[in-house]
C-alpha cells in the first residue's frame, strides 16, 4: 500500500507548517461518486472501471456513509461467486473516515497507519462530502511545496540583494520582486521597508528614500486590501527607481474616482486597521516623479511610479 514518505517529527519546518495549514477538505475529491446498498457489485465494478477509480463509498439517500466497496471486495466477490449480489451484503463496513476540517498532518498519519488506499470524508454533521486518496494528498502537497520553495527563493534573493550587497550605482539594472497576498497584513510592509533600507545603504538622499517608502507602502497595501494578490517589482538603475505594482485583478472600474482623495471602497475591517482613507493612489502620485496607472474592471491593475534618485522635482 502506498505510504506518504513524510516523517512528521524530523521534516523541515516549512513542510510541517503546510501539513498543519492545509485541511482535509483542501485535498479531497468532491463531489464524488457514491453507490447505493441496493446496487449490485457487478454494477459497481463497471462504474469503477468506467471512471478509473479503485473504490466507491456506499451511502444512503441522505448521504450517510454505510460502507465502502474497494477493488479487493470486487476480487473477493468474483472469487466467491457473489458479484451479482447487492453491495449492502458484502461491502466493507469497518470504514475509517476523516473529518473535513482535520489537518492534512492527521490525514498523512492515517495513510501511514492504516493500509487503506482511500478515506471517505465526512462533514461536521457526519454526511459524506468527499474522498481522499494518497495521490490527492501527494499532488496537493507538491503544489504547496512548490509555492513555498518559490517564496523561499524570493526571500533568499532579496536577502542577497539586501543591505550588504547593495551598490545600486555600480550595476546596470537590478530587479527585486516581492509577492503580496490578499488580506495578509502580516507581510504587508516588508517589501517597502526592505527597499527603503536598500536605498539608504546605497547612500540615496533620505528625503527621496522616504518618498519611495511612502509610494511603495501605499501600493503594497492597495494590493493586500483590494486585489487577488500581486507582485511588487522594484527596478533599480543608476539614477532611477521604478516601482511596478502589478496585480491579478479585479481591477478598478472608475480610475478617476480612485484617484480622488478620500474616495475608498475599503471595508470596515480594513478601515479599523487605519487603512482605507482613500489616500493611497493620491499619496503615491504626489510623492512620485512620474506616475502611471492602467486598470479596468475585470482585469488586473498596473501602477508604475518612477523616482529620480539623484535629486528630484516632486514635493
Amino acid at each position: 500500500m502506498l505510504a506518504i514518505p513524510i516523517h512528521q517529527d524530523n521534516s523541515p519546518e516549512a513542510v510541517i507548517s503546510i501539513l498543519f495549514k492545509l485541511k482535509v477538505k483542501d485535498v479531497m475529491t468532491h463531489p464524488i461518486l457514491t453507490a447505493s446498498p441496493s446496487d449490485t457489485l457487478r454494477h459497481i465494478q463497471q462504474v469503477m472501471k468506467k471512471n478509473h477509480i479503485t473504490g466507491i463509498p456506499v451511502a444512503d439517500s441522505e448521504n450517510r456513509l454505510l460502507g465502502i466497496v474497494s477493488m479487493d471486495d470486487i476480487v473477493t466477490a468474483l472469487d466467491n461467486g457473489w458479484i451479482e449480489d447487492q453491495a449492502g451484503l458484502h461491502m466493507t463496513t469497518n470504514v475509517i473516515v476523516l473529518e473535513e476540517n482535520m489537518s492534512l498532518s492527521f490525514c498523512v498519519s492515517y495513510f501511514n497507519k492504516y493500509s487503506f488506499g482511500r478515506f471517505p470524508v465526512l462533514d461536521s454533521r457526519s454526511r459524506l462530502v468527499g474522498i481522499v486518496t494518497a495521490s490527492d494528498v501527494i499532488s496537493t502537497l507538491l503544489v504547496a511545496l512548490n509555492k513555498e520553495v518559490e517564496r523561499l527563493e524570493h526571500t533568499a534573493e532579496s536577502a542577497e540583494t539586501g543591505p550588504a550587497g547593495a551598490k545600486p550605482e555600480n550595476s546596470g539594472e537590478q530587479v527585486i520582486e516581492f509577492k503580496t497576498e490578499p488580506f495578509n497584513f502580516e507581510i504587508a510592509g516588508q517589501a517597502s521597508t526592505e527597499i527603503k533600507k536598500l536605498l539608504k545603504s546605497g547612500g540615496i538622499d533620505t528625503a527621496i528614500t522616504r518618498r519611495v517608502g511612502i509610494a511603495s507602502y501605499e501600493l503594497e497595501i492597495n494590493q493586500v486590501v483590494h486585489s487577488a494578490g500581486g507582485i511588487m517589482r522594484y527596478i533599480l538603475k543608476a539614477d532611477t527607481l521604478v516601482i511596478e505594482a502589478e496585480d491579478t485583478g479585479p481591477g478598478i472600474p472608475n480610475l478617476e474616482k480612485a484617484m480622488t482623495e478620500g474616495f475608498s471602497t475599503a471595508n470596515e475591517r480594513v478601515r479599523s486597521l487605519g487603512f482605507g482613507a482613500g489616500m493611497g493612489l493620491p499619496n503615491t502620485k504626489r510623492v512620485a516623479d512620474e506616475f502611471y496607472i492602467d486598470s479596468a474592471e475585470g482585469r488586473g491593475t498596473l501602477v508604475r511610479a518612477t523616482f529620480n534618485l539623484k535629486g528630484s522635482t516632486a514635493v
Binding site: 527603503k196 487603512f275 482613507a277 482613500g278 489616500m279
Partner: protein
Amino acid sequence: MKTSELGSFLGADCLQGDYEDRDIAGAYTSDLLSDAMANAVDEGILITIQAHKNTIAVATIKDLRAIVLCNNRPVPDDMIEAARNEGIALFVTKDSQYEVSGKLYAQLSGT
C-alpha cells in the same frame, strides 16, 4: 525634546526602549495610516490608537522616533518586536490622543 524624555513628560509607559536617543522633530496625531504617511513629521513622533505592526512599517518609512499609543490600547507582541527591530520607541498611555497632543503641543512647536 528627546525620545528618552517622552515617557516621564507624558506619564506614559515605555514598551520598547531599545532606540537611539535623538531630538524629536515634531508630532502628528492620526489613526489613518495613509494620512500619517502623507503628513507625519519626518523624524518626529506619531500619536495614535493604531496598535499593530503596520504602524511600525509607517514609522520606519517616515523615520519616526517614537509612537505614542493612547487610551491604554492593548499592544500585540509582534508590534513590540517589530519596533525593536527598527529601533523605534513605543509608549503607551491612558490618555487620549487629544490629551497627549495637548501636552506636547507647546513643548514641540515652541522651540
